[in-house]
């Protein structure tokens, strides 16, 4: 046991003991609580409140109303961060061409089982994404569940099969950009309509407020759609699942193709 080893272990133990002692002695606030915070009381009372329609979001699911209506700006920036990571990964793989190769995949038993399971996973993902404003669920959840199917097809069949059924890199990137465009369109539609009609309106507005009398409807033929939350959920599910598919294709390109592209890059420089 060298001296460096010992110092690291002692420092870790001191960190653990000090932090947990501080939290148990209620230095960072009382734990566990009997009343929630005042901000959370406001969110819980006003997420679905037909008696006070000017500050309500008309969404039965409180977490969705916080993410897309009361704190919608945070979610917009987080989507931008995810987009930047995908673009940075695509930049690392510039100039790589996927050539056709023969690949066998796994045995026929696994292939038949995958053919039965993949449509059920896609149906569950769509159901979770569309019901995001009524039950726990939403855009990220549905998109992540749908991304598992890309991984399944990639592992049991081959990368070439994925290209053959129409999921090449360019098409996935185009679909993801379409999802992001519809996200931005949903966030500024009330503002644009207000500008055209001469009424005051805000960006990311969901329902009609005290100072602006224009807003999206929360009910359509007796179905509850909660204004902009529904459209946000659908566009986010599309964008997230396509992003994951793109990532898997990048990671699993054959090594010979990437080495060839690297050599070509070094010859140019």
């Amino acid at each position: 046991m060298s001296l460096r080893h010992l110092i690291v272990i002692i420092a870790t133990v001191v960190l653990i003991v000090t932090l947990s002692y501080a939290i148990t002695m209620r230095a960072l606030g009382p734990v566990p609580l009997f009343k929630v915070r005042r901000v959370s009381e406001f969110y819980l009372t006003n997420a679905f409140n037909p008696f006070n329609k000017t500050i309500s979001a008309m969404t039965p699911e409180v977490v969705t109303s916080i993410i897309w209506d009361y704190r919608g700006l945070d979610t917009l920036f987080e989507t931008a961060v995810f987009y930047l990571a995908i673009i940075a990964t695509a930049m690392l793989y510039r100039g790589v061409i996927v050539r056709r190769k023969t690949q066998v995949g796994l045995s026929p038993i696994v292939k038949t089982a995958t053919k039965i399971v993949v449509p059920s996973i896609i149906v569950i993902a769509i159901a979770v994404a569309l019901h995001g404003h009524l039950t726990p669920g939403g855009g990220f959840q549905g998109g992540s569940i749908a991304a598992v199917t890309f991984a399944l097809i990639l592992v049991t069949f081959s990368l070439y099969t994925l290209n053959k059924i129409g999921a090449c890199k360019e098409k996935l990137l185009a679909l993801r950009s379409l999802g992001l465009l519809s996200l931005i369109a949903t966030s500024i539609i009330v503002f644009v309509m207000g500008m055209l009609l001469g009424i005051r309106a805000f960006i990311l507005q969901n329902q009609a407020k005290l100072v602006s009398i224009i807003g999206l409807p929360y009910k359509m033929y007796n179905f509850l759609i909660s204004g902009s939350c529904f459209f946000f959920n659908v566009s986010e599910a599309l964008a997230v699942s396509m992003a994951f598919g793109l990532l898997f294709i990048f990671i699993s390109i054959f090594e010979e193709d990437v080495e060839e592209a690297l050599k070509r890059r070094e010859e140019v420089e």
């Binding site: 566990p32 977490v63 979770v128 726990p136 669920g137 939403g138 990220f140 959840q141 992540s144 569940i145 991304a147 598992v148 991984a151 994951f244 990671i251 699993s252 090594e255």
Partner: protein, 85 residues
């Protein structure tokens, strides 16, 4: 007393997760380390369910049990498998 029973079960689950992460960090064969980390993620998903956070469970199960081990196994397959001491 059901509110206290929830806290008791989450205590037990978090101690098991502590054991699993110690095994994951100390292990030298990287495939086994990925497996222990997936066990720890499963225990955490159960912990989120017990502590009544349904939205988080629906994100955590595809992301931390499905996608992270998949990415890691592809990287290990394309580079080295054993870690030098």
């Amino acid at each position: 007393m059901m509110g206290l029973f929830i806290l008791f079960v989450s205590c037990v689950v978090s101690i098991l997760a502590l054991v699993a992460t110690y095994l994951a960090i100390v292990e030298r064969d990287l495939l086994k380390a990925i497996l222990y980390s997936a066990i720890q993620s499963t225990l955490f998903a159960f912990l989120y369910y017990i502590l009544i956070a349904p939205d988080i469970v629906l994100v955590y199960i595809p992301v931390a049990i499905g996608l992270y081990p998949l990415l890691m196994v592809i990287v290990v397959k394309k580079s080295e498998r054993f870690e030098k001491p």
